[in-house]
Symmetry: C2
Subunit: 326 residues, 2 copies
């Protein structure tokens, strides 16, 4: 996954250091346990991709002011963190990024309530910073979309929905909308002209789609050693992604594949067989091509007004997603 030590974020390295300090301050509470949980969560090795995009976008505008944009960047990371905390409760996950999850380290109650607290702290930071109602509205929409996206996903597990639009809608709500908003609001607070902010928002959408398609693809292609979880984890959890949906539509073994992916009791052997059926189609190539198309659109849509070093950083992000194999 994207790492902050990656050279693409060199240009905002000192911003990200301040961000980390701000995040720790943002979750601090007069109640020790709340501070402890919050600090554990925001310092548990986050990739900071969302605040980094926001900061880069703000740098692209004429009014860049780190103090002004930091609370927004922090709120975006807090929303992401809160949503992961609740996801980990839903998935009964014990670890994330090599650290114990809040539900494992404390319990489900602490995790659910800490997630609520962190969501609310994000909205508090935004209110304190008087960015105006548009920013608050977009962040509220974001949290609604994240929740709705998860509800749809949970409601359709083991159902083998063969409609690709359903898949694209799902990953848009889960990832692309979020990265879009990071770019859009960063540009806005940086004082970027509206036409350029819109372009940067489209860039965010495109890299978000590419990122999620790649992520889903790696779940099929990687070995346990590479990603720290068994390959075919999505299939096992009843979630069908682009290559699987494609195979359900075109594979000569589509019926067998459908029987497997709709079986909540599937064995490891069945998962392996499903992976083999998927890999025998051109679904892998199709997904790679889709991700590449999105990345090409992302590069093309970058506003011409961006300073050279910021433009370069945005381009490095697209290269990174394209080359990602871990």
């Amino acid at each position: 996954m994207i790492n902050v030590s990656n050279p693409m974020f060199d240009v905002i390295k000192s911003d990200l250091a301040e961000l980390d300090e701000g995040l720790t301050g943002a979750v601090a509470s007069s109640v020790e346990l709340v501070t402890e949980v919050g600090t554990h969560l925001v310092s548990a090795g986050g990739k900071r991709i969302r605040p980094a995009l926001c900061l880069l976008a703000a740098h692209g505008g004429p009014d860049f002011d780190l103090k002004r944009v930091l609370p927004l960047a922090e709120a975006l990371e807090l929303i992401h963190t809160a949503s992961l905390v609740h996801d980990d409760v839903l998935d009964e996950a014990d670890t994330r990024r090599g650290q114990a999850t809040a539900n494992a380290k404390w319990n489900n109650q602490v995790a659910i309530l800490s997630g609520d607290y962190i969501f609310a702290r994000a909205f508090g930071l935004i209110a304190d910073s008087t960015y105006g109602e548009h920013v608050s509205r977009r962040l509220a929409e974001l949290v609604c979309n994240l929740s709705v996206g998860e509800i749809i996903q949970n409601h359709t597990v083991y159902q083998a929905v063969k409609d690709l639009d359903n898949y694209y809608g799902r990953i848009q709500k889960k990832t692309a909308d979020f990265l879009e908003i990071c770019c859009e609001l960063g540009g806005l607070v940086g004082g970027m002209p509206e036409v350029d902010t819109r372009k940067l928002a489209e860039y965010g959408h495109c890299i978000g789609m590419a990122f999620q398609i790649t992520d889903d693809l790696l779940d099929i292609l990687q070995t346990s050693e590479q990603i720290g979880k068994p390959a075919g984890n999505d299939i096992r959890q009843g979630i069908v992604t682009l290559p699987v949906i494609h195979a359900l539509n075109v594979s000569p073994n589509a019926a067998e594949l459908e029987r497997i992916v709709t079986d909540p009791e599937m064995t490891d052997e069945m998962v392996d067989r499903a992976l083999a059926i998927v890999k025998a189609t051109d679904g892998i190539e199709l997904a790679k091509q889709q991700a590449d198309d999105y990345l090409e659109r992302a590069r093309a849509v970058l506003p011409a007004s961006l300073p050279a070093d910021i433009r370069e950083a945005f381009l490095m992000v697209t290269d990174f997603i394209g080359d990602r194999d871990f």
Copy 2:
């Protein structure tokens, strides 16, 4: 519990009807399941005490405008609803107000995510209504406090904390802060002078403290038939309230009481014995007196500028809490 058909809310009866419509609209989503869950939750027999206080307060100001204040009143009820949905997951509750909880009717995943969605819809309503940053900030603080209050409560179960300040702090975060904010923000949006808004906020704080002390008292005094759950439910869940804390400090049987309330495996007989020890002290009288004192302060602090019918409604709320025996 307080019911909207109670005469104290007659003066805002038509407002509350519009509120109900607004709530249904507020949770509507393009995803059918989300709308279904949201509608179930907002129409599941809520008492509407929070939006009612907000509406009454707004009526008290010179700029009352129903269309203007409704989204705020709706947001307050949505925050309350979302927080109950998450509480029911934490408590593994099957029913609330005689209706199936979201976790029982659907599952924990749907309940947690729907709670997140409803929280976010509340902040979305506020952003759309451009009340200014103060309102958003207060609501964010409210959600933080609700979460922190629950975290403290969950973290200290079966611990028999004998400090009354701990108890007061807990019920303030759980109930009094919320009713205070309803009154304060209603007054603000109704254009009430700041000095009167502050008085009304104090009224809200006082009735909130009285309400929760009474609620906790009824849990000790009532029979199963009266409240639909066994008496001593708080003790059983490891939560000590005012009369119990008092008994832990003054009863000759304090040591026995402490052994019981700190035992997560306590039997029904032990709960009955604990109730008997508590009832043998003057803790019941003390709690009643405390609640009465808060109600007297609430009545005294009502601003003189209130229209007669609104003042009357606020006074009826205090009488109602004082007379509450169900």
